[in-house]
Structure formats: C-alpha cells, structure tokens
C-alpha cells in the first residue's frame, strides 16, 4: 500500500481559493471577483508593480512607495507607504505569484489581491478585497464595497485597453 500512497490524488488551493477562504472569515470584508480581459502573464506582473498599478486603479490612493524590499518564506516582503487623503499609511506586504496581501500597521486596514490564469491563460480571474478587520466595523462594509467595485471596474477597463 505504501508505494501507492505517494500517488494518491492531492487537492490544491489556488491564490483565488485562498483569498476566498480569508474573505469568508473577515466580517467587514468587501470583495469583488471577475474576469479581466488580459492574459495572466501581462495582468499579474502589471498588478504586482504596486507603485505603478495601485494609484492607477484605486482612486483613493494618490501615491504608493516601496520603502523596503526583502524575500522570505517563498515570497517577496515589502514595506510600503500608501498615501490616502494626504496621509501616508504604512503597510506590510506579502507578494507571491498571483497573490498579494497588504496589511496596515496595527491591522487597521487590509487589502488582498489574487489572480489566476483563466481561459487557458488568455484572460485572468481576479479577486480584490478590502477590509477594516477590527471589531464593530461591519457597518463600514457598504462603503468599502462601493470602493472595491469602483477599483475592480477601473482595473477591468485598464486590462481591456492593455494597461
């Protein structure tokens, strides 16, 4: 039997599934998921260049600066500052192929982006989440959902026009 065990089917969880699992466990999380009309090989590298991509599709972020870059545990670890309404908010970022988790200091804000090839890689399944993961913030969800929907619409438009 042991020779057979190594060949047993193994299930997998892609970046989008991992993001959905996290989304379902954060009460205030607002998210959008859909298909971008751009190949994954084009879309993800563009998104992963956070200094360029985030201010283009997130209207609440005027500027994003990478302050420090390192790698650990199979991922890039970034320390960034995102300027929103004139205030630079520091985030700790974990960046992998198809997955980007950005958590503000003291866990005041959470941003999650995940992507997978769709339609044989010709298009991209994209998942975008924002949350204020603190107690008593459920009421903010409606506002966050509007922001996330707007970000996703911007991103879809940028993808359709080649970024």
């Amino acid at each position: 039997m042991s020779a057979v065990q190594a060949r047993w089917p193994v299930a997998s969880l892609g970046p989008v599934g991992r993001a959905r699992a996290l989304a379902a466990s954060i009460p205030s999380a607002a998210w959008a998921e859909g298909i971008l009309d751009a190949p994954y090989d084009t879309a993800w590298p563009w998104v992963a260049d956070l200094e360029v991509s985030v201010p283009r599709f997130d209207t609440q972020v005027r500027r994003l600066r990478v302050l420090e870059r390192s790698s650990a545990d199979g991922a890039q670890r970034l320390r960034i500052a995102a300027s929103t309404f004139g205030v630079a908010i520091p985030f700790e970022v974990r960046l992998e192929d198809g997955y980007c988790l950005m958590q503000a200091r003291a866990r005041l804000y959470l941003v999650l982006m995940a992507a997978e090839p769709h339609d044989g890689g010709r298009r991209t399944r994209f998942f975008h989440l924002e949350a204020v993961p603190l107690p008593g913030t459920r009421l903010m969800r409606r506002h966050l959902q509007r922001a996330v929907d707007a970000d996703f619409a911007n991103l879809a438009r940028l993808a359709a026009t080649g970024f």
């Binding site: 039997m1 089917p9 193994v10 299930a11 997998s12 969880l13 599934g17 699992a21 958590q103």
Partner: protein, 164 residues
Amino acid sequence: MEQLVRAARRGDAAAMDALVRALMPYVGRVCGAIALDHGDDAMQETFIAVLRNIRSLREPAALHGWVRRIAVREAIRAARRGREDPVDPEMLRGVSVAPVELSTVLDVRSTLARLGPEQRAVLVLRDVDGLSETEAAEVLGVPEGTVKSRLHRARSAFARRWEP
C-alpha cells in the same frame, strides 16, 4: 504553529494566511484522496470553516486533530454532493510525471473512485494519517466495527488491483 493560531484567533489576517499555507499540504492530501474531483472545492470549504471557527479552538495544540475532522467532513460532503465522473486522462495533461507514473496515478485514482467517500476516508485516516481504528472511528463519528468493515472493503479493492 501555536503562536500562529493565537494570532489568527485575534483576527490577524497575515497569521490566518500563514496558517492556511502551513496546513495546505495536509488538507490537500485528505481532500484529494476522499473527494477526488471535488477535492479543490472541499479544500476551500475546509479553510473557510477553519478560519471562521478558529476562535472556538480552545487549545491551539489540538489544531491538527481539529483540522483533520473538518477536512474529512468537508471532503465527504463534497464527494456526496458531486457526481463521480470517470477518470479523464486529459485532466492530467501537463502533470510532470513519467508515463509509467501517470498510469499509476490513474490506477490509484480509479481504484479510489470505485469506493464510497466514507471508505476512502477510513483508508486515508488509517493508511495515510496512521490513526488507529479507534481514533478513526472517533474522527468519523461511527462505531469501531464500521471502521473495520469499511477498511476491509477498501483494502480489498486495492489488493485486487495491486497484488498479483
């Protein structure tokens, strides 16, 4: 791992994410072997249940056993929900194994597909996880005698295929 559980219980998303990454290989094996084609769905449902209920895990040291129960439950549920399709070799295109190994994968998979999800669960708990029949019965919430009979049938199916 226990520190990670404590941070996840406090709602630290990075800790929750790290917990998922750490548990992915084990949950993938359990869900893949029990739910087969529906293993990916079972895996996602397992992690949703784990993260949603992490606060109810009183003793972080009990994490592995707690996750095992959830994964087995979700995998059986997903397998029951779905219809078992015949093995399609096209699904395994691109899998980086030699031709001989590919046929072994198909054979193991088709042997497992002939069993019910509950029998696959017993097989996984006994032969992959190394639990005793008593422990497997506890995880599955069935009498030990039921585990014995399911295991006998499951092992017989494998013996017919793998032993001359």
